[in-house]
Amino acid sequence: MKRNLLTFVIGGVLAVVFILLLFTFQVRQTEVAVVTRFGKPVRNLTEPGFKGKWPWPIEKHVKFDQRIQTFEDKFTEDQTADSVQLLTMVYVGWRISDAQAFFPKFAGGSVSAAERMLESILRSAKTATVGKHSLGDFVNADPKQLKFDAIESEIKAQVQAQLAANNCGIVVEFLGIKKLGLPESVTQAVFERMTSERAVLVSKSQFEGEAEAQKIRSAAERDAARITSEAESQAIRIRGEGEAKAAELLPVFELNPALANFDLRLKALEQSLKEKSTLIFDQRTPPFDLFQGFPTNRPSK
């Protein structure tokens, strides 16, 4: 009896487990699922948890990761509005939002098939968008003229519209340009332009340097001249003040001009005969006037 009960319990548990396995399945937080009945999708499951279904072969469930996955397309070349061949590569953050729509669309819910479709949609969206913009919308020093974000949202809007029209069960969460480039031959032309720009910079900095140096030098010379002339005028003023003071003293000499003159002449005489001078004098020059009255060497004549 004891044995029968135990067997029964074990058998019951096993049966419950088996039934659960047959009739239920789990959907994770990160997943969405679709239940198909005889291969036809009938129920869409977007919430995580324990779900019920009819056992195989009546119903089957297919689960998809519903998290955002990133897809990058190829680096493709399109012509801009101003006839520049521009290569662009974009990345798309997309996710499966509706398993019921997604599943039948892509041969049993193949993600790579979805990516192929995404790529072809992107291809045409990119061509259309790039063709509407000039290169200056992609790269521009003026943030107001740069339309980088606008271009990204234009492509995104086109992709979204296309996906919605096809009813693919895919949602594009974000889209951004990953890479911009120019055809290989154009890069060479850009290099040439950059080289000539650099050459201009080289000569510019050379000439500007010299011009500025010249400016500094001439300014220095001008300032030096100004300083010197100011000093000279100050010197003249100082001398003038000296003269003025001297003039105040001069009236003293008027008390006896004869003495003043005599004294001046005497001093001048002494100054002028100070060195290396030859003096020729006759008997009238004092103190040689003492020779007057002496007999000469030719008195008879």
Partner: protein
């Protein structure tokens, strides 16, 4: 244990019937089978116990200090909001079919690198210094670069170090979280380069360019709900290797320019210093002259005042005396003294003097 007992009971119940069986060989055969079954039941029971233990213990898991864990029960996270994050330590969850443990690195700093704007190279080649040589042009399939605001080509790459601030979003929102982060960084790099000129990126505004990348990335991280926080964003930029020579020439020209300017400034300095010292000399000289003039005049005035009484007493005598005194003093200094008395006949004499222009250089004269 109970199983064992019930088995015994079973054997017991059949034993009285055994003698009834005609074939003793058959009896011993079934007995052997029973023995064998009993032995294998013991093994099965042991294995079941071990499995049970393994089943229970496999539910334990430890969370490291650098990570958090989330338990998913039947696919749904256990707990709400931040409570679903299990911190470091030992935890228990039901084994697989019921619970699942998802680990998230959190305090650990993650690192991604954007190389869409860099030429084809690897870290090893870079470290060894044998990068592939640059061709005359850039092949878009191989060599990455960014287009600058002035339509130029510049290599630029960014390394982003980030932390996962919202692990739930990072894990449940994205299939490859780091991939999404890297693409956001690529886009930020491209977007910033599109707004800066080549010169700004390479030399004039490196910090501004770096900031622009970080800001753009942060905007994208918020907009795309990446759940990450930037720790540091390092950007490296380089002129195309094809143009290295001309870019170096620009740098050299810049250096020459500052050299020329420095020379001019030092000339300026010298000139002004010289002018100032010259000016000081001029003023000092004038000052000295003024002083000397006034001093001399003052002395003259003093002397005049002193002499006046003598002179006024007898002007003629004074004159004669002073003159003779001066002549006496002066004549001692005069080199040649020629006395030339009047001719007796009263006629004037003619005197010829040879004037030497350079009396001070007798040696050079001799050389001639």
């Amino acid at each position: 244990m109970s199983h064992d007992h019930s088995h015994d009971h079973h054997d017991h119940g059949h034993r009285p019937e055994r003698p009834v069986a005609a074939n003793p060989g058959m009896d011993s055969g079934s007995q052997a089978l029973t023995e064998a079954l009993r032995g294998s039941f013991v093994i099965v029971k042991f294995v079941m116990l071990v499995l049970l233990a393994v089943f229970i213990f496999s539910g334990f898991f430890s969370v490291g200090p650098q990570e958090k864990a989330i338990v998913l029960r039947f696919g749904k996270p256990v707990g709400d909001g931040d409570k679903m994050l299990l911190s470091a330590g030992l935890h228990w969850a039901w084994p697989y079919p019921i619970d699942e443990v998802e680990r998230v690195p959190i305090t650990e700093i993650q690192r991604v690198r954007s190389t869409v704007g860099w030429y084809a190279t690897t870290d090893a080649m870079e470290a060894a210094g044998n990068e592939p040589p640059a061709g005359p042009s850039l092949n878009p399939a191989i060599d990455g670069y960014v287009l600058t605001a002035d339509g130029n080509i510049v290599h630029s790459r960014a390394t982003l170090r980030y932390r996962i601030a919202d692990p739930i979003q990072y894990v449940f929102g994205f299939m490859g979280g780091s991939n999404a982060v890297q693409n956001a960084l690529n886009n930020a790099l491209l977007h910033a380069a599109a707004r800066f000129t080549a010169d700004e990126i390479l030399t004039r505004d490196i910090a501004g360019y770096n900031d622009a990348i970080t800001r753009r990335f942060e905007q994208l991280a918020v907009a795309q709900k990446l759940g990450v926080v930037v720790e540091q964003c390092a950007v490296e930029s380089k002129a195309p290797r094809q143009l290295k020579m001309i870019f170096d020439a620009v740098i050299t020209a810049g250096q020459n320019r500052s050299k020329v300017l420095n020379e001019a400034r030092s000339y300026e300095n010298q000139t002004l210093t010289r002018a100032e010292s010259g000016a000081t000399n001029i003023v000092n000289l004038a000052e000295t002259e003024r002083k000397a003039r006034l001093d001399a005049l003052g002395a003259d005035v003093e002397r005049f005042r002193a002499l006046r009484p003598n002179f006024e007493r007898n002007p003629e005598l004074y004159r004669q005396q002073e003159l003779v005194k001066v002549m006496g003093r002066t004549l001692t200094n005069v080199n040649d003294r020629i006395y030339l008395p009047d001719r007796a006949d009263g006629k004037s004499r003619e005197l010829r003097l040879q004037l030497n222009r350079e009396p001070l250089k007798p040696k050079s004269e001799a050389a001639q």
